[in-house]
């Protein structure tokens, strides 16, 4: 049974967002990530697993250590969707603009008559 993972699920959690922020600066091993948080190491491992399944990080083995690296290109998907949502509100302003033009024409017309 494979659960569908996507980038939205990855960033829907504050701890996972914090992990991505940390890894965006430099790759870290699992222990040093876990040390930065007050939650258990198991909990952090689970977050890392989800991030990996969402393709936001990749794990590389170096000797005994497991290093996590961020793969940030996936995040573009989110910003594209935010841009679409923003457009919805921009449309409202476009409509307002058009309506103001109409109204100004109407009223100017009345004054001239």
């Amino acid at each position: 049974m494979i659960e569908r993972r996507d980038v939205f699920q990855a960033i829907a959690d504050p701890t996972r967002r914090a992990i991505i922020n940390m890894l965006a600066e430099k790759p870290l091993n699992v222990n040093s990530i876990a040390e930065s948080f007050a939650v258990s190491r198991q909990a952090i491992s689970l977050h890392i697993k989800i991030l990996e399944e969402c393709h936001l990080l990749q794990i590389r083995k170096q000797g005994r250590e497991r290093y996590c690296e961020a793969k940030l290109n996936q995040l573009n998907e989110v910003s594209v969707w935010v841009a679409q949502y923003r457009q919805h509100w921009e449309n409202k302003l476009d409509n307002l603009e058009t309506y103001l033009e109409q109204l100004k024409k109407q009223r100017n017309g009345k004054q001239k008559k």
Binding site: I11, W81, Y85, R86, H88, N91, N95, L103
Partner: protein
Amino acid sequence: MENKKNNTADRELIITRTLNAPVALVWEVWTQPEHIANWWGPNGFSTTIQVMDLQAGGKWDLVMHGPDGKDYDNSSLFKEIIPFKKLVYEHVSNPHFTATILFEEQGEQTKISWHMLFDSAEQFIGVVKAYKADKGLEQNIEKLELYLQQKKIVKS
């Protein structure tokens, strides 16, 4: 160490526009039901304003009638009204957010700034994702582009 900053950048949307109309007209068109019904809804929608009680604590209910025949109820509460300057409302129905609209007089023009603040980054992401799932909106954007092109032709 949680990287949770004290700012709101991950749960807000700000859009601004300079409108070619004096602030009195922009305010009128924003605050009077008979006007707002003419521009509020997405293209293809019509809007019925049921209540618009323009004062702090006042109710603002509207229904957007979709091109598919569906009605979408929207409930808000006005939080702050400063005539010709500022308007704050809380969208009480889904999705929950607080909108602050600032009007800035610039001679015969008005700069409008529209700020929407969602409860949390999680909720904002949910809204964005739900929006993406709505295919009708993509069509609306296409329609709008077409409409704007026509508008430009008329103007030139």
